[in-house]
Amino acid sequence: MTRPGGRATPTSGPAVARAAVIALSGLLGAGALAAPPPQPLVGETLYRRGLLPSAEPVQATREAGATLKGADAACVNCHRRSGLGSSEGRITIPPIAGPYLFIARGKSLEQQGVPFVDTERVNHEAYTDESLARAIREGIGANGKTLNYLMPRYQMDDATMAELIGYLKGIKVSPSPGVSTSVLHFATIITPDADPVKRRGMLDVMNQYFVDKNNAAARTKAPTLYSSHTMMFRVERRWQLHVWELSGEPATWEAQLRKYLASQPVFAVISGLGGSNWEPVYRFCEAQALPCLFPNVEAPVGHDSDFYSVYFSRGVLLEAQLLARELAQAREPIRRVVQVFRAGDVGEQAARTLQAARTDAGQQVVNRVLKAHAASKDLHAALREVGPTDALVLWLRPQDLKALATVPVTTSRVWMSGEMGGLEQAPLPAGWREVTRMAYPVDLPGRRVVRVDYALSWFRIRKIPLVAQQVQADTYLACGLVSETLNHIVDAFVRDYLIERVEMALDHRVLTGYYPRLTLAPGQRFASKGGYIVRFSDPQGTKVAPLGDWITP
């Protein structure tokens, strides 16, 4: 983010350039539409990307002489974006957000109005600018002891050091917007093209979860602990849900979301429901530095290198990768791949992903596009001329699958999307069942039953109608993950820290709903990585059998 021609200071630089940088760096978490706070750009760029004001990579060495530079030497790798530290194995990486560095020995965190984090070491003298510079340059801590071997020794001039220290001092550890002394505000986002049945199912689960959460808190309510005049420790805050329903054209969604956020700041977005276009929501979350945790989106938008958008799975895009692998390994020669999808549905994006993968491999791929609202009988036309040596890939919804009953099967090499078709509930006609293999990006029914039953029982007891099982189970899982993570973050209600703790909490999670495992890390934004290829076992019913092991394409 260093601009050519010099360094920006917290109070200098044209407002336009500053706004652009803020949008890119995603630091604007607070205040939404409020005026952006001054940004210590040099320090931030050094902290996050390991770049000096000259745009040269920062150089560092370790005790034993090993050198590292640039992104490899960036502070963020260990101390994380929040500046609140991390732990790996037996190694604890302490917080370096200013309040933790400059806290005086003998004073408790809460006396200083600083939230507890489990990586904090309170047994050091308060740093000064000088002793902190020595720690960064020479690896000597405030108490004169050598810092851990992991900590590099950095080379930088005094002015750059001052910028870095200024950045560390400016890292906020006070509660993010959307967190008051009594309420934690969360939002969930629903796009206008979302399935109305799934919408109802998701909201039923979320509303009930929030009611339960608040009831449980009320039942176990201990007296609020005021441990100092400046801070309350472990206060039970009420959860409040704000449903952000979008309307109109996708081009207007970001502005709508900004407006929602400005009128009611939230700590994070939990779950949510999309149709075929999640891009504006994704852009909003990244630009506003707002955690958007586990939305129900069949074609998620984003990259592993993002920070704020976290998904359970790549959905139909994962299916496309699974099928590309299948087609690459097909035993029988395939003349061409024919894909069928409806215009504007997520199948279109999946088909594009599959097409790119197979075209790169030199295979002919033909797309047959059904108009968005055309009658299902148009399938006849779309499947005309599909021959026995063609592979047919169906990116279709249940009603189109039903309509296949009147379409003759002309090839035995058929694959379909489980996510779009309804997994084992897919109403595939008998003749087609025999020849169709299904991408199945979740755990097998028999194996997930115990994990999903927990959610289903919860729905049953609370009389929540089961209308969209996976969406509802995933929503319940998303709420549970946030709740569990909040236990770990105690009082450090910092949005970046929430994401970092979700990453850590996920590996420990036993009840993972539809997914056999969920893992995240810095640089991982899709928690479940693979799927099965299955086939219906019988001409009728919902029994499916895997055609191999779990595959991670």
Binding site: E63, A66, C78, R90, D304, D507, A521, P522, T552
Partner: protein
């Protein structure tokens, strides 16, 4: 001679299948001799080839083994940089020793991602990376006593062996490249 470490630490370092003698040279690095039973699992090498773990380990060369994951941002870059320096410092001798890095996050670490990671650390041809099924990775982690429940709990462990059938030198902690060269040369010189 290196001092013996207290029994409790030795017990803590003892693997399920081996007998070991643990010694410490510095506060943060400890060394032990241990024997492990290699599980007969198949792994996928970064070049995409499916290979047997015992065969890869027992190809006759001295072997250095460690466990990493590519999105690990603190410990692994340091241990990988150490191996890079180790290869560099060995010079022509580097061609004799087989370096093996097995992913503990195999679902994320596809062969393509491992190849990219290997390039980043200038891995020479004798340094190979492995992924595979989660079950295979877990079996390898358990066999070499590096499994710590989940990936974020892993600790830096480097294992060295001079020839198949010989015991392993187990190094826990952040060993430096120079120390590693020293360990390797001593291991080769020992009867």
């Amino acid at each position: 001679m290196r001092p013996r470490i207290p029994g409790w630490l030795g017990a803590a370092l003892t693997c399920a299948t081996g007998v070991l003698l643990a010694v410490a040279t510095a506060a943060s690095v400890s060394r032990a001799t241990a024997s492990y039973e290699t599980p007969a699992v198949m792994l996928v090498r970064a070049d995409g080839k499916s290979v047997s773990l015992p065969q890869e380990l027992d190809d006759g060369r001295p072997v250095l083994l460690n466990f990493i994951f590519t999105t690990c941002s603190s410990i692994c870059p340091l241990t990988s940089r150490t191996l890079e320096e180790f290869q560099h410092k060995l010079g022509p001798e580097a061609a004799r020793i087989h370096l093996m890095s097995i992913s503990i996050d195999p679902e994320q670490d596809t062969p393509a991602r491992l190849s990219e990671y290997a390039r980043k650390f200038h891995a020479g041809p004798e340094w190979q990376y492995y992924t595979g099924t989660l079950a295979a990775s877990l079996a390898a982690q358990r066999a070499f006593d590096v499994y710590r429940g989940e990936k974020m709990s892993h600790t830096p462990v480097t294992l060295l062996r001079s020839t198949p059938g010989k015991p392993w030198l187990r190094i826990e902690g952040f060993v430096t490249p120079d120390e590693l060269v020293d360990d390797y040369q001593k291991l080769l010189a020992s009867p």
